[in-house]
Amino acid sequence: MSRKDESELDRRTFVKIGASAAAIAAAEITFPGAELVAGEPATAEQAVLGSRLSRTDGPLKVTGRARYAIEQQLKNLAYGVTVQSTRAAGRVLSIDTSAAKALPGVVDVYTLHNPLKLNRPTLYTKGGGATEEFTPLQDDIIRFNGMHIALVVADTFEHATEAASLLTVVYETADPIVDINDPKAQPQLIETMGASWGDAATALAAAEVKVDVTYTTSREYNVPMEPHACIASWEDGKITVWEPSQWVGGARSVVSEWLGIGIENVRVISPYVGGGFGSKIGAHPHVGLACAASRQLGRPVKVSLTRPQTFTGLGGRPATRQTLSIGASKDGKISSIVHESWNETAIDEVHVEACNNVTKIMYATPNFSSRLSVVPVHTVMPGWKRGPGENPSAYALECAIDELSYALNMDPITLRLANWADKDPSNNFPWTTRQLREAYTAGAEAIGWWKRNPKPRSMREGRELIGYGMAAGAYPMIRTASEARIVLHADGQIEVLSAGTDIGTGTYTILAQTAADALGVPITTVVVRLGDTVLPRSALAGGSQQANNLTGAVQSAASNAREALLSLAATDPKSPLAGSKVTDLIFEKGHIRPSRRPGSGISIARLLKAVAKGTLEIDGNTFAPGATESMKNGADRSFAQLKGAVEGGVSAHSWSAQFVEVRVDEDFGTIRVKRMVSAFDSGRIFNPKLAESQWIGGMIMGLGQALLEEGYVDQRDGRIVNANFADYALPVNADVPEVHVISVGIPDMQASALGGKGVGEIGVVGVAPALGNAVFHATGKRIRSLPITLEKLA
């Protein structure tokens, strides 16, 4: 398509979507009811799965008309502002709220003295939907600096903010364990997540060549553009929560537990999410405060965390430390890998960063051992950030492999190929697909890998040292059975419904493509509605699983719809095709016709009109036959139905080969990334434009992790002192170079119903080690801690 055609298409699309948005905006908010469920008309006349459609929600978002959670307009809305502790450990002795309560507009101030009752929710590890058990205001214990200790509710945000600054808190301060390096910290081994085979220690001792290294990563934060902010509205024993969520089913379950009410009385709505990257999978404690305050006050309550509060209102990726010893023969055959990792966790809760997820599958080694430990410290409960586990795992492994390649005087790609794993070394299962060789080849070619001088500090331009680096990555295939509904309308419109949320990845778009493709109809007739617990059950948008889960469910619904339409055409007396045998009818390009009579046949809309049906609703799902309601609810509200990478005795993963070129100023140690080239195996790609955007976004996130991002912990009081966008540095446009992504995947029908594998998470995996390796190539200095800031290269 030419550029001119594209802009013309965009203009027409804009007009169409504008009208639709106005209709949505004009609707009254009612409960229950589906009027406010966001609907996104698709954008092109012709499109099938696999075409490069732009995001159907794009025009609404860039024109400000997509209504995010806290942009809902509710009558009698009250504003809640949380107050966070300024100590990391100890107790809250008292909170004087009198000055705050004396201000005009203040409705109430909730503290441990005047608490809002919140029950402990059930963790996802125990069959629930919660990512942390912590519930604020229920006791006087201080668990970390920045913990919610009060909620001030007022008639305006300004009044609540002013009142929040007037609380007088008296603490009994205790000595905190501030971070992973605190000598007081007591690591706890997580035995179940270790792995071992062969005799790694003995084989390592006997190895001809060894590397023995320690790699660390800093606290990182998800910091999506849209802060964590919600509105809760209690009415007649039921609650509606507008919450930016990657998982409305999980949030619904947690809200029902917090409040002690039946799950049928909870509705969670999340049509648009302004970024989450893992941090919006769980509903965090401030949501509980909003819900409980709304019930207490009998009016809707909005709670928006400020940007600084998002650093401690929920956790990011914890700091990690890994030791790796790799033994190899002189010709580069790895004989042993010994790995140990530690990650920070909350003082009384366990978050495991699975730092051996890539370590244990990437290379064929006859001997392996890995142990994982958590280190409880006074921090907010850490959470998931893009590529949790795999990201730090690949960082240490792929840097250590680079170190081994220099120890062996062997090219890093040649070394990787010499240790190619023909099957999953951790369980001997066959891979489903592993296009990693193709990724190495394509990435190396695109960046000019073989033209570089591999000697460290050998390439320069002026005062800049030039470095090339590469690394591999993997992300496991996660799957959960899900449902979808297709509603066929007599006016020709086709709705696709699912509770799954579009977190900016393109779910609206690819589901429209799937339905249009499966029904043979123009995509402009398809409207997708997402992100609401009144819609058909869906697992979380996390772990790179949703595109595969929901395209499969929509495909199933579409297949059921075709059968239902053929049956209706044959059997309904008012059908123009009444009296035909179903087996003599075929469904083609949105029309039903007798198989032996070529021609256009009758359209879906014409059939529905003829039989006097306004709509026809057809469900589909990817559950196994005989799945119970309880299993279906489990898929929607918990991880009970989640299937991992090795389901069915095969091992399914996405793969990446990341290549970068950096320039390092020889005097200052400043690093500028010149090019990023990555080749990905994500199986079949449903929409290349959207998949490429996901990969590129992941790569830029990896750039930030490698070179900029670090939460600074004050060693006296455990406070994050750079909890804002000026002092916690993320990449800006000027940091982002030319980025080139290549798809080397092939349809993987063992991985998912339509042959796709994960896209969103794999983009980040391998970026940090590729950059670290490039910095070594440029400077000859091996930096083993992230981020690689300029003083480390001094």
């Binding site: 600096n145 200052f668 400043t670 500028r672």
Partner: protein, 330 residues
Amino acid sequence: MKTFDYVRADDSAGAIAQTADPETRFLVGGTTLLDLMKLNVESPARLIDITRLRGLDIIAMSSDVIRIGALAKMSAVAAHADIIVAAPAISESLWRAASPQLRNMASIGGNLMQRTRCTYFRDPGAYPACNKRIPGSGCAAIAGINRNHAVLGTSDACIAINPGDLAVSLVAFDARIVIRGAVERRVSVDEFFLLPEQTPHLEHRLAQGELIVGIEIPRTPALKRSHYLKVRDRASYEFAAASAAAGIELEADGKTIRDVRIALGGVATKPWRLHAVEAVLKGKTLNEATLRSAAARSVEGAKSSGHNAFKIDLAPKVVARALMTAGGIA
């Protein structure tokens, strides 16, 4: 955030008359002041909006001086064709500051009045002690996270950095600040900013009831051959790890240094003129070794607080490179 009155001034005399009250602040772009009010660091009773004052947004050049009105926007000065030619370091120091959105809002007068980015200064809820906010209350930064704190001009009361870029260029080239109060007076930028010593709450020589109305920069050959270098981890929108404004005038032989100006940013409690380095270089032949050797004196008297030790190594390299670039040998 405390409730405050907002008043729009029509003329500078009226504006000045209204600010005799110490609870009053002038408001232009608001890019520092409004942030600090939201953070409960500043809590003025009254803001005098001076954005409508006429004649204070000029950018004018005569044969010997550049005049810039206090209300000129950072972006307008940075992009001004005469400034780019006659005073590249001034333009570059503005381009490398902040973000496009901030540069479009912030005024030159306000830029000089911006306050430190010390994270402890900006977090009074968690760190009540701050000698800059409350004299004599203590300093949380000295034993805290101090990667972005000063190594030059510090005291045992305060190590907060003056974060500006423009002021570094101005101090290098002997600019003057034009101040209007009961009378109009001129103060050199170097004298305008105060060292913290035991009174870090006193940051400058502007008295209550006075308004910055403009700056004057003497035109010199060194200014015309000048450069502003800002070094930081992030490529844009970050305060300097270290920066330098440098200008060089060569003798007719094209290699002997007749005049040289150099100032440091991002490492000191005020914009830091390097007279000692200049004195060493005058009359010397322009070459890399000479510049590096002289630049080593940039951090004489520097004191690390721990995380910021790297600035002591970095600053001379930045000075040397800025001089090399200005001299055309980078």
